[in-house]
């Protein structure tokens, strides 16, 4: 029976199979990629910004909390904000598990001489405790013994790029890393124009190319319009120049400076804060420094802190103790979990949308399977009459048509699955290529896997079986009609 066929109505069957395959492509592609995308995103987007032995402490909300665990519950009434202070740091420093606890000093935007013509502006300059800084510096003497300059740590990837004046483009310069070590540079804090993009990425050529003067002017105008809505004009003219020297490379798009040197720029930051408070922003509800409706930090009070735990100490226990003091905390593990929750939620939504879309197409395909089988039954009445006269039972006739219905479903599913895998592999290749190009941090780059494609055999088997069953159901009614064809009438018609 299996090798005999009634001959599917080709065009109609092809349409049903193609529709079925389309539905399966959507579902399989989403299923094959989402886990991998989630994994890469969680590992590379924020988590790596926090070193594994660092607890970031915040007076306000933890910016690394993407989705609180008690999502869905009404928010608790916010307590009066409690700022960090030297006395708080002293308490924390007194714990046996803690190696260092201090305030960071962050400033942005920042420009660094020699790095002003780079693809992306420096995100932030951070003053950090020496204990944190030392892990990025190869020669301790350069930090502790430096008197004539502020030791800098800059992101590795940027300094590997070399600008070729003649060719007018940035190029990879594997040897560039070493040439930057020890180089003297000038850091300008508050250089708002550091935000200008001097390069744009040409995807067709896969390289950065310099943007034109017109583009730079347009960018400058946009920036200045932004300054006018947010700050008094005196603020964006307030800059501070510092001398520095490159002594190492750190992860992330950051520049780190040792804490002592950061004190130098603290006054500058205070000055900006004061100016911002005196000149509240116009046409906006947000202020750049301090939270609306709350008192700002007084002298000796800080909004952020960094706590470094000793090797082998339980970082989560330390974080919990700080939390119990009334502060928000971020650790790599917590950030990872928070990101995972946020991504899981997004992945779930994408999967649900893909499933709903796939289900819609599959429902349509099942309708087409039903319609194809019905049409085949109508067109094959004479054949059915003949088969019955030659000894086919009703059951065999039913099975013949059900077989064709299931065959359409299975062919559609298998084709869709193969195409879905091919598409997923292509997307995986494209996404990872993009990620490798965009990720600036070498530590982060190491976390990018070879593929984000994953093969869920159980899901695929379930899909084949499920669609075969649905196709079977779709073919049931026409197959029953075929089985009940009166052979006498069918042969008479012939």
């Amino acid at each position: 029976m299996t090798t005999q066929k009634l001959g599917l109505r080709k065009k109609r069957a092809a349409f049903a199979i193609i529709s079925m395959a389309l539905g399966v492509i959507v579902v399989v592609t989403a299923n094959s990629l989402m886990e991998g995308v989630r994994d890469v995103a969680i590992k590379t987007i924020w988590t790596e910004e926090i070193d594994p032995d660092v607890v970031r402490v915040y007076a306000g909300q933890n910016p690394y909390e993407f989705m609180p665990p008690d999502e869905g519950q009404p928010p608790k009434a916010q307590k009066r904000i409690q700022y960090l202070s030297e006395s708080v740091f002293d308490v924390i420093r007194g714990w046996s598990e803690v190696a260092a606890a201090d305030r960071p000093v962050a400033a942005q935007p920042v420009s660094i001489s020699g790095l002003d013509k780079r693809p992306q502006g420096i995100a932030e300059l951070q003053g950090v405790p020496e204990a944190l800084l030392l892990r990025y510096v190869t020669d301790r003497a350069l930090v502790t013994g430096s008197t004539n300059a502020i030791p800098l740590v800059v992101g590795e990837r940027e300094v590997r790029l070399r600008y070729d004046e003649k060719r007018g483009k940035l190029e990879d310069d594997p040897a560039g890393e070493k040439t930057w070590l020890g180089r003297e540079v000038t850091i300008v804090l508050g250089d708002n124009y550091a935000r200008l993009s001097h390069f744009s990425y040409d995807y067709s050529k896969r390289q950065f190319t310099p943007v034109g003067e017109d583009d730079l002017t347009a960018q400058r105008d946009t920036l200045e319009r932004g300054f006018r809505t947010q700050f008094d004009t005196t603020i964006y003219n307030t800059t501070l120049s510092l001398k520095g020297r490159v002594v190492g490379f750190c992860p992330g798009n950051r520049v780190l400076i040792p804490f002592d040197a950061a004190v130098l720029c603290e006054k500058w930051i205070d000055q900006r804060n004061q100016l911002a408070l005196r000149n509240p922003p116009r046409n906006t509800n947000q202020v750049a420094y301090g939270e609306r409706g709350r008192r700002g930090p007084k002298t000796g009070e800080y909004t952020e802190g960094l706590v470094i735990v000793k090797p082998g100490a339980n970082i989560e226990a330390v974080a919990k103790r700080i939390e119990d003091m009334g502060f928000s905390v971020a650790t790599r593990a917590r950030t990872f979990e928070s990101q995972a929750r946020a991504f899981d939620s997004s992945v779930r939504i994408v999967k649900e949308v893909a499933l709903a879309f796939g289900a819609l197409i599959l429902a349509l395909s099942c309708g087409l399977v039903w319609s194809t089988t019905s049409k085949t039954v109508s067109d094959s009445r004479a054949d059915i009459g003949l088969f019955r006269s030659l000894g086919a039972t009703k059951r065999e006739i039913r099975r013949l048509f059900l077989g064709e219905a299931v065959l359409q479903g299975v062919i559609g599913t298998v084709c869709g699955m193969l195409l879905g895998w091919a598409l997923a592999l292509t997307v995986s290749h494209w996404v990872l290529g993009y990620a490798r190009r965009e990720v600036l941090d070498p530590e982060e780059a190491l976390l990018i896997p070879d593929t984000i494609f994953s093969l869920n055999i159980r899901f695929c088997l379930l899909l084949v079986v499920g669609i075969a069953l649905v196709s079977l159901l779709a073919g049931l009614l026409p197959a029953n009609r075929a089985a009940n064809v009166d052979p006498v009438k069918a042969l008479k018609r012939e």
Partner: protein, 220 residues
């Protein structure tokens, strides 16, 4: 071999009751060659459909090879048709998407014979019928005579006891029709197969040992 006892077949055409066969009694001996003749609508085809178990009589019993067909369920009556009856149709009824071999092998599919064996048997039978050059030809590549020989081969493939032929020469020219009748007669004589043939053609009927005449649902 075939016993039809007090057979009546009645059906409704719109609101009108039509009596296709009335109180018909017929006995056909094993190995005989019989022709059924009569005007159109006299009940000839209804008669062979009854014998094939495709139609259930309104009254009376159809007993073929000792089996009362009225008492068989779908599985049994299908098996009976497959093993005992071979059909030859006026318009051959050869599905166009099958080759000659596939068409001949078709009844063996329903008999549960595996593919290799059924194709082998089909090829042998077609060769016996002189169609060895046409094994892989589709029906539209065959002449009328060849197509009818393929149809007869299909009717014989399960070694049935009875061949029911409905106007087997009705779609053929005189010479080809005569060849087909020769073949049916040969099958009847050499294989001992009972042949029951519906025909309008007196020349075809002349090949039969007996002619059964039917009019308005009754034997005359």
């Amino acid at each position: 071999m075939i016993h039809l006892e007090n057979i009546s077949v009645e059906y409704r055409l719109k609101s009108e009751r039509v009596l296709a066969l009335r109180n018909l009694n017929l006995h056909i001996l094993e190995g005989s060659f019989e022709a059924i003749m009569g005007p159109s609508g006299s009940g000839k085809t209804t008669l062979i459909q009854l014998i094939a178990g495709l139609l259930t009589p309104t009254a009376g019993d159809v007993i073929v090879s000792g089996e009362n067909l009225n008492r068989l369920d779908d599985e049994k009556i299908s098996a009976f048709r497959n093993r005992t009856i071979g059909f030859v149709f006026q318009f051959f009824n050869l599905p166009s998407y099958y080759t000659a071999v596939d068409n001949v092998a078709l009844p063996l599919v329903f008999a549960g014979v595996d593919e290799r064996a059924r194709r082998e048997r089909a090829r042998n039978l077609l060769t016996e019928f002189g169609l060895q050059e046409r094994l892989d030809h589709k029906p539209d590549q065959l002449s009328g005579g060849e197509a009818q020989r393929v149809a007869i081969a299909r009717a014989l493939i399960t070694n049935p006891k009875i061949i029911l032929a409905d106007e087997p020469t009705g779609n053929l020219d005189r010479d080809t029709g005569a060849h087909v009748m020769d073949l049916l007669q040969k099958i009847n004589r050499e294989r001992g197969v009972t042949v029951l043939m519906v025909t309008h053609d007196e020349k075809a009927a002349a090949f039969a040992q007996r002619v059964i005449r039917i009019e308005k649902g009754e034997l005359v």
